[in-house]
Amino acid sequence: MKKGAGRLTLDALFTAAALTIFVIELQIPSIGIPGVKLGLANIVTVTAAFLIGPWDAGAILLCRIVLGGVFSGQIMALWYSLAGGTLCWLIMLPLRRILTEKQIWVMSVLGAAAHNIGQILVALAVTRTAAILYYLPVLMVSGILAGLFTGIAAQFAVLRLRPVMKKHFLR
């Protein structure tokens, strides 16, 4: 198999997984505070960042957000996710270099926190109401806790998948 095609296949696979998880999570009822959620699709992004590479992870994230926005039908939510996703990915870039395999969960925690900050920034720009900042602490707490959970899941996934990947795909 050609190297480029293999990589593209891998990205597509991860995108599909991320979308599936995202759509399933849509079924979980919201607890009432916008922005507070598990963010299970984050598992895929973090896993991809470590297994394939940060650029691929970014592409997967972008496709997941755009497609997810279309599937959920909430176009407004798309902008929030895009801002959150961009910030999340920007923080992943340097982290990818300094984190060891046992510290993958850290990337997820900081990524989730960055994601929530991005969302708040968009809300601030859209509503021009400083009161939005009132939600920041609760979003940070929920982001850190959810990020910890998805991060640990991602760490398991990376450790289990790495041998398989080495054998069948790249490197």
């Binding site: 850290v106 009161a131 009132y134 939600y135 609760v138 707490v141």
Partner: protein, 129 residues
Amino acid sequence: MIKTKTWVLILGALLLTALLSCLILYTRPAPGTVANIYRDGVPVRSVDLSLVTEPWEFTLSDERGANVIRVEPGRIAVIDADCPDRICVEAGWLSDSASPIVCLPHRLVIRIEKNAAAEGDPVPDTVSR
């Protein structure tokens, strides 16, 4: 490489800060007062009065004239205007959602609308006066 222990400490501190600010923010009386300013029925400006600590002023003007608006913690008023009746200035301070400040000549309305985070008594839908 940074030790895992260090990461735990950093993230723990972050979580603790967020938790503490949650406690401080949400145990205070809920911020309930956002003043929205409308011109010709269209929102032009919004001020969260519960976040105001220092009084400040601004002027809203268009071809019909100008209204000078003063904001203080928890309340808002039109303190000067060049409209003929100056009813908006006489209306004085507005601090609850009961009755808006209206400047008919300038088509300006200042209304206090409870924000989503407000708790307590359900707010009436409208006021008969």
